[in-house]
Amino acid sequence: MMEKEHLIDLKHISKEYDGVTVLDDISLYIRKKEFVTLLGPSGCGKTTTLRIIGGFETPTSGEVLFEGKDIVSLPPYKRRVNTVFQKYALFPHLNVYDNIAFGLKLKKMSKAEIQKRVDYMLDLVNLAGYGKRRVDALSGGQQQRVAIARSLVNEPEVLLLDEPLGALDLKLRKDMQLELKSMQQRLGITFLYVTHDQEEALTMSDTIVVMRDGHILQIGDPKHIYDEPANAFVADFIGESNILRGEMIHDELVSFAGREFPCVDFGFGEHVPVDVVIRPEDIMLVGEDVGQLVGTVQSVLFKGVHYEMMIDCGTFTFKVHSTTMEPQGSKVGLNVVPFNIHIMKPMKEAGK
């Protein structure tokens, strides 16, 4: 789907508010037709990044290139991007139709042409026949669709979405995720999406940018980010993790939880402290006698597809996801295959 060509380039963007650094030397690029997600906890600078591209904030330093041209000084109404705001920001004095037609009317388009395009958009977002409704008479999900239609009707090069599904309930959110993704693929528009929901990011994105405290921690496709998190923070933020302090004995051998494990990582040096990350679903429950580690089941929670068990191995309590249940208090063995042990530099260094 996506093309090689860079549509937007952020180069060394920094942003300060009254001396507080919100973005610290951010660089990233967005390709045509790509679905990029900025993912991070609140206050990580993801919305500020979006607003800089939308033209609502000016970076303290750095360049924003759009098809190679610097657009930092360009006001929002001259940029070929449109934004879907967090709480939709629909115009309460206009009905659904006029909200969507707002941008087209400014372009002095003929009435018939506007009618055609707005009707097409209403169809696209499943709101055909809702044109005359007041926007505040719509449900959250419907308002959200109007907001998307209002932006998309202008045929932007890039659609910026600022946590657009945040106010919706879980079921609706999941449906809208799929709908947005298919809409993006059908229309061939570049999406830049901001969210703090890791599952949403993994479901929809071509590329995920993980941010924290104004820094980019990792850029990559969902699978890469999930399987090879750059540091313990990313690992913890993307999905659930067991994060332990460990020591790299030498290449492909690591020690944690009181014993040594073969692994596949190398190049850290010998006898250096590292962070070890193991996903809960990567721990296999085996017989007490054949386990690499032995522990006692402390608690069991039923989570639908799997059970979540906390297993105390003396030095560390592992979170384990398994489809088979071991009763509370029983002794079990834990095994991890080398491939599933992720070694990373300790957090302090990785954050730099």
Binding site: Y77, N82, F85, K87, A89, H93, G103, L106, K107, S151
Partner: protein
Amino acid sequence: MINNLQLPPWALWAMVLALIVFIAMVVISVRRNHGIKRSLFASPYILWMFIFTLLPCVLIAYYAFTDVNGHFTLDNFSSFWDSNYIMRENLRSVAGDEMAATVARGSVNVDTLVYSLWMALLCTVVSLILGYPAALFMADRKMKLGPTLVVLFIIPMWMNFLLRTIAWMSLLEDNGLINAFLERIGVGKVQLMYNQQAVLLGMVYNFLPFMVFPIYTSLSKMDPKLAEAAQDLGCNDMLTLLKVTMPLSLPGVISGITMVFMPSVTTFFIPRVLGGGNTRMFGDLIESTFKTAGNWNLGSALSLIMMVLILISLSILRKADPNGEGGGIV
């Protein structure tokens, strides 16, 4: 000035009755609830409202439809349309129809009303033109000066309305500050007071805050994201103002218009002080009909006409802002 006209006896009885009913209700309420209910604390206010708002309104209606002797009549309203009506009728009874026909129609009352409405309209328009940009400036989050400006607008309101108007006198009068300055720079004295412009100036000065604050409130309540959305969809600053900010501040504008227009029509102190009696407004007329002419019946009729006009314009404005979002007096 006490005039020869007395309150109708039933007005006194109504007050006594209200007091008895009030005390009885309080007693019943305390007995039934075995103590004091919270709603009981509102009762003094209800009594106050009855004696000082409702009863006077009834009295105005009563006087408007009666003559000096307390008999029903519509003469007061005829006198509103034709201020020589009573004179002509008196002449008719003494000298016959022919003589009565020589008395021309007097238009003082209607003319004054029309003039008042015109002045109030001017005052409202000028206040809106001056007030809207001020409110816009005050509500702009990017302007550091906004909050200071709000305070500057409020401070004069802490001072008495009469004092503020009299203060303008010392600025505008022949030997006032402005003329002293004009003389010093060689322009010479200019007649600034006792004309329509001075009255308008005084009215705008006094009523401007009532225009600015409702607009300011509705503007500062507005989600700044809406202006951003407008920009995002292709509006420059001017178009954002016209297409989004202004329509959304309409409730505030309506509230502001109400709060400036209503008191403007009935104002009497400003035209008296700054207009020097050269320009007479309806409030002035009502006041002098009551006090100088001592004609409570005509005065009440004029007041009633004023009230009806205000109610009509209120209901029109209410149509434009059905939710009362402007929060004013509507």
